[in-house]
């Protein structure tokens, strides 16, 4: 709505007549009406879902409209602050492009022709097809792909239905190899949020982690605080990230050579005697085997591989050695890079162990030992067929290997997959090689997607079930395992808009139609939460009012004589030399494997995050789109000049297999090496249903036709594609 000043004065004159004129009015008058004392705001605590950090937020509601989101001071992940995305949650709530009613496909799959349907009809269609698949092929032939809080509703539904085949991109396309690497070393993963004790560190080491652009609220708070307190920062990144801009030591490493650097660091720490001998004697095994295995990885050798001067490799190793154990080696998060990612993560974990930083102040703190009793539910049926979501990889996690399900869908082997149930993930953007995804989708009898926004994959579904946003629903309690144990509640701030429904309702209604109602034995989700709180001895009313409760006396972050660490490895000790890996035929100590470098005329394609977006899901959010409207391809300024590309002009990227991107703007910058390009992930959605971001920017995933599978965990290394730039035709 555009108002001239004169009409504004007139309208506001009318509004002063009283609340009646205001109540139906647009947002701007609500703030004014609040100022004038005509209406009072209410405040409702909940937690955020714009990313997966689950920050406590407090929504300010004026006359039924959410006008502001603030961080909840009682919540450990937000501490009273929200990032740009969290602040921008209102943009999602009131995005006019939201999915508003259930939709049923009336065209060919992917054609995007839909008709609105009632919930009863849409759920009926889904249930009928799911029953058909069960009857014809067995329940194992339905797979679920999921991410985030919808998982708490739909994974139980599909488990009750009888399939073990779950795939979460958070494993094989993200954290998987990292978690496996740490589990093989320490017996447990680094946690989410990662248990990094940045705030007490003297040295912080980031390897490919771009904190700041990677906006994980409390972790970035700690990062900035540590910088403020004078902690020294080492950043290994081929791009001059925001974090690199704050570093005392920036190591612009040749991409794909990180393991060489890590092994050289490990070697220096050992040969210069900077490791924590007493700590290792007590908690670790395999030191001498490790020492021997890394002895050939000298700084001079590493210089040739990594393009980092040997002197700087030595200097940074000494920075760590001198300040140990108060050194945070950040485990990273998105770790699926080159296909040897478990081993790289092992190297990070081993370095952490040598410095004695695990369980020490300023390093990695220990998880709370507190826990809450699990609610009892009817046991799920035992699947009749073995799960195929492990893909045959010996250390694949319980979150499943997404692309193994995709492959089975295409080949029909070891048994057919005929239905995909998808919630909270846009598989077109999260899985590499979109061709395979499309091929698999074409084999399906049923593709059902639960989503808030009309994302790429969503608009290929046979049936689309519109979930309401996180500000309109209950979800499962978030159990926080930071230093202390905490519990947070997600509760509706306003009633669901349009015909959208909470995930729990959708799952329960589907369960009814699948004769699985026994698994959802409650009338409302609030009833379920109340019961869970009673069982756990937590006051539901307090939780509802405060949003988050920290359970007292559950923090035991550091190793002390009374607080000894437990390592859930085979031997109960830190595995510097992994017998588990050896038994399965893998290298017990990470070795350096040289990866192919870009051929002449090509650049390695790398990708990362913008601080104001989460994958593709926020691209259309008006509050965030405004700040970042399309991604750019970063290219070294000198290289761009040689090739005749200028900042701001549009180009097309072509990869080694001939796959092309949409038009993308050039950012010629000094902030990147000459052998690579970089772009923010998640752009280049093609759907016209996203009225703002649709068709904008380049899709990195469209260029990732090749992926290097980690033989240990089955995760997909996605930094193995090479592209060149071409002028727009």
């Amino acid at each position: 709505m555009k108002l001239s000043r004169r009409s504004f004065l007139k309208t506001s004159g009318v509004a002063t007549a009283g609340l009646a004129a205001v109540s139906g009015g647009p947002e701007k008058f609500l703030l004014w009406a609040e100022d004038a004392g005509l209406i009072k705001p209410t405040f409702v605590p909940t937690f955020c879902e714009i990313c997966f950090w689950k920050c406590g937020a407090i929504a300010k509601v004026l006359n039924g409209r959410v006008v502001k989101l603030d961080g909840n001071p009682a919540h450990g992940n937000s501490r009273g602050k929200l990032c740009a995305r969290g602040n921008g949650g209102i943009g999602l709530l009131y995005d006019k492009d939201r999915l508003k009613t259930p939709l049923i496909n009336v065209g060919k799959r992917g054609e995007g022709k839909y008709r609105a349907a009632s919930w009863d009809e849409a759920l009926g269609v889904v249930a009928e097809k799911m029953k058909g698949i069960k009857q014809q092929y067995g329940p194992e032939s339905m797979a679920i792909f999921t991410h985030g809080t919808p998982t708490d509703h739909f994974l139980p539904l599909l488990s009750a239905y009888g399939t073990p085949n779950v795939g979460m991109p958070s494993f094989a396309q993200c954290r998987g190899p990292r978690d496996v690497g740490y589990e093989l070393t320490f017996g447990e993963g680094p946690g989410s949020p990662e248990r990094v004790d940045l705030i007490n560190s003297k040295v912080m080491v980031l390897i490919g982690s771009h904190l700041g652009e990677n906006m994980h609220n409390s972790q970035v708070q700690d990062f900035a605080e540590a910088i403020g307190r004078g902690s020294k920062l080492i950043v290994v990144d081929p791009r001059y990230s925001i974090a690199a801009g704050k570093a005392q030591q920036w190591l612009p490493i040749r991409p794909a050579t990180d393991v060489a650097l890590l092994l050289a660091w490990i070697n220096i720490i050992i040969t210069e005697g900077m490791y924590d001998r007493a700590y290792l004697d007590q908690f670790a095994e395999g030191f001498s085997d490790l020492a021997q295995a890394v002895s050939s990885y000298t700084p001079q050798w590493a210089e040739k591989e990594t393009d980092i001067p040997a002197a700087q490799i030595i200097e940074t190793a000494r920075m760590m050695g001198k300040n140990a154990p108060a050194v945070t080696i950040h485990p990273g998060r998105h770790a699926t890079w080159y296909g040897d990612d478990v081993q790289r993560s092992r190297a990070l974990a081993i370095l952490t162990a040598l410095l004695g930083s695990w369980g020490r102040s300023g390093g990695m703190f220990l998880a709370t030992k507190g826990s809450l009793p699990k609610g009892e539910s009817k046991p799920f049926p035992e699947p009749g067929k073995a799960p195929l979501n492990g893909g045959g990889y010996p250390f694949a996690g319980a979150e499943g290997v997404t692309q193994a399900i995709r492959t089975a869908t295409i080949t029909g082997s070891p048994y057919p997959i005929k239905g995909w149930f998808v919630s909270g993930t846009n598989l077109m953007k999260s899985l590499p090689n979109q061709k395979e995804t499309l091929e698999a989708i074409n084999k399906l009898d049923l593709l059902v997607v639960v989503d808030v926004m009309p994302m790429d994959l969503t608009m290929m579904a046979d049936v689309i079930l519109p979930e309401c946003t996180y500000l309109e629903r209950h979800d499962a309690l978030a159990i926080g395992k930071g230093k202390s144990l905490s519990v947070s509640i997600r509760q509706p701030v306003i009633k669901p808009l349009y015909e959208s429904k909470p995930g729990w309702w959708i799952a329960k209604e589907l369960a009814k139609r699948l004769d699985l109602a026994d698994y959802f034995p409650w009338n409302s989700y609030e009833e379920k939460l109340q019961k869970q709180c009673r069982t756990a001895g937590i006051s539901y009313d307090d939780l509802k009012t405060l949003g988050c409760l920290t359970i007292p006396d559950t923090a035991t972050p550091y190793i002390t004589p009374e607080n000894q660490p437990t390592f859930k490895t085979a031997s109960g000790k830190i595995q510097l030399y992994s017998k588990e890996l050896q038994e399965k035929g893998f290298d017990p100590v990470p070795i350096y494997v040289r990866h192919p470098l870009p051929p002449e005329g090509f650049f390695r394609l790398t990708y990362g995050r913008s601080a104001v977006h989460t994958f593709s899901r926020t691209t259309n959010n008006p509050a965030l789109f405004e700040l970042y409207k399309e991604n750019e391809v970063w290219i070294n300024a000198k290289k761009a000049q040689t090739l005749g590309f200028k900042s701001g002009e549009y180009v097309v990227l072509i990869n080694q297999d001939g796959a092309t991107s949409g038009r993308i703007k050039v950012k010629a910058t000094q902030r990147i090496r000459e052998d690579m390009v970089y772009m923010v992930h998640g752009w280049g959605s093609t759907g016209k249903e996203l009225s703002r971001s649709g068709g904008r920017g380049g899709d990195d995933q469209g260029l990732i036709t090749k992926y290097a599978v980690d033989p240990i965990a089955g995760s997909t290394g996605m930094r193995v594609n090479f592209v060149k730039l071409q002028k727009e035709a």
Binding site: E27, D70, K81, N87, A224, Q248, L624, L627, R671
Partner: protein
């Protein structure tokens, strides 16, 4: 009488833009318009680079050109706390203040027609809260308080710090202070 001021500790800023979005929600700033912004500036040649991240907003100058250049008396400096504000009902949208401000801190609200700018969230200050951008600042880079109070966060932040103001030579006597320390090329 408090003498309100803001300190931007640039060392702690991570350019996450939380301040920008919080400000827009808090103050109902129209699309594509801003009361505050964060600039990302890099100089040097690969790999010898340095970066400056700088939050900018109204400087609430003690010698405010926008106030002097306002023909209708709409712009004024609040006596009791030094915040530069605007009486919307007096503003005719003539843009004199927009042109006069050397910090590019003002805009004509394209939905409402009058000049608009940062108010240090004076409506929140009255409730005892910090400005919205400060409250949500992830890096505690934005610091707010009373310059006359030795215990205020701004005084503590400025103590012993090498601080500057923007365009000191313009003689505007800003109330937004910057602590900037470049990361040094190694």
């Amino acid at each position: 009488m408090p003498k309100y001021a803001m300190v931007i500790d640039q060392r702690r800023c991570v350019a996450c833009m939380a301040c920008v979005v919080a400000c827009k929600n808090e103050n109902d700033v129209p699309p594509e318009q801003y009361r505050t912004r964060v600039l990302e500036m890099v100089e040097g040649e690969f790999p010898l680079l340095r970066m400056e991240l700088r939050s900018e907003l109204c400087n609430h100058c003690d010698n405010p050109p926008c106030v002097y250049n306002c023909p209708t008396g709409a712009s004024y400096k609040q006596k009791e706390n030094g915040i530069v504000l605007l009486r919307k009902n007096r503003c005719v949208g003539c843009k004199a203040c927009v042109a006069a401000c050397p910090y590019n801190a003002r805009y004509i609200n394209h939905e409402k027609g009058f000049a608009d700018k940062c108010t240090f969230c004076d409506h929140r200050l009255k409730e005892g809260k910090e400005p919205a951008c400060v409250a949500t600042c992830i890096g505690k880079s934005r610091i707010f308080g009373d310059l006359d109070d030795p215990k205020s966060p701004v005084r503590i932040a400025l103590q012993g710090a090498d601080s500057t103001v923007l365009l000191e030579g313009a003689g505007t006597r800003p109330r937004v202070y910057y602590i900037k320390k470049f990361s040094k090329p190694e």
